[in-house]
Symmetry: C2
Subunit: 202 residues, 2 copies
């Protein structure tokens, strides 16, 4: 295992190992992702749960090797900073949520939430296959809408770079520092409550 | 492994086993969830990725045994049909998204999406520990807001029943049928595209 992967892995007893191993790098190897692995990424997303089994998820898949036109278009929707590092990834993906129910066109309040679940399963599957995923909020959603003809009841919720981990030296010095920093989160008492403002006794 | 668990497990070569095993039952055993496992559910959610590492997730945790007041309140926010079966679960949880960024109160467009990711990690961790999770859209969000004093820039996105799988016979006959039916999803060509309406070559 890569040294940086080892350093990033959480040491929490009992935590499922893929959850402990998942992190979001900014450097990818030029090694392609095998076609069967690409398919399995989306199989994993496909089997996520969703409200009324609506499956409000669409993924726009750009592949440097097999679908370079889409790849270039997805890349062009990213903000400049993200373009800088994300272009090392062999796959660039946009995750799109449907905000209406297909059967009756009523508002689907769970569209984004359920898309998030599908993407999390994609990331777990990626980790399982030795890949890394870096999700981004830094993209131009309206440019993506025009570029890919995304209808108004759908919305882009994330861009993703996917591939094998690349060398740290590929990054500018300042970003190398950012890359190898510790993973940080709020404590459990800030996120699990028995009523608003009152932490649960865990 | 339970017979129904075996029947529900997806047979997709290469699919990570916890993703293949996860499904949403409507019958739970009266066996309690061990305190260390309860904690690990939220550890798994805690380490999900989020936009600007905002971590826009709060979970309201009701436990039949250790926090029965919250449990009864969460139960009372569910629609009647869900109350009927969900009350067999030892844990009832509400998942709440923050729709503004903490640092500047700007709108967080990724609040629901990132909460969905955290909940998906919770469900994977649950499956890893032999538990089951059933998420629901059938709850009264405004009743939950009043009951738990949830501020206006937060929104309930899911209710969850968590516990060990219970006997099928615990359910009314009609629901037993529903429970043991096959798992169904759209095909990959309906969810992975190279531009809108054009399936990717996978």
């Amino acid at each position: 295992m890569d040294k940086i992967d080892q350093a990033k892995e959480l040491k929490v007893e009992g935590l499922q190992s893929l959850i402990a191993k998942r992190w979001s790098p900014r450097t990818f190897s030029d090694k392609d992702v095998e076609p069967e692995k690409v398919k399995l990424l989306f199989e994993a997303a496909r089997w996520a749960p969703s409200c009324y089994n609506e499956q409000p998820w669409t993924y726009i898949l750009g592949s440097k090797k097999t679908c370079p036109e889409t790849y270039d278009k997805v890349l062009s929707t990213l903000v400049e900073f993200n373009q800088g590092w994300a272009k090392s990834a062999p796959l660039l993906i946009l995750a799109v949520a449907h905000l209406k129910f297909s059967k009756n066109q009523n508002e689907n309040l769970w569209g984004k939430y359920d898309l998030g679940q599908a993407s999390a399963q994609l990331a777990i599957q990626a980790t399982h296959m030795g890949l890394h995923v870096h999700q981004m909020g830094g993209y131009d959603g309206e440019k993506a809408r025009t570029t890919f003809n995304i209808p108004s009841d759908f919305v882009v919720c994330a861009a993703m770079a996917v591939g094998y981990l690349g060398p740290l030296e590929q990054l500018p010095e300042q970003m190398q520092k950012l890359e190898s920093g510790p993973r940080e989160r709020k404590g459990l008492s800030d996120m699990v409550v028995s009523t608003w403002g009152t932490p649960s006794k865990l």
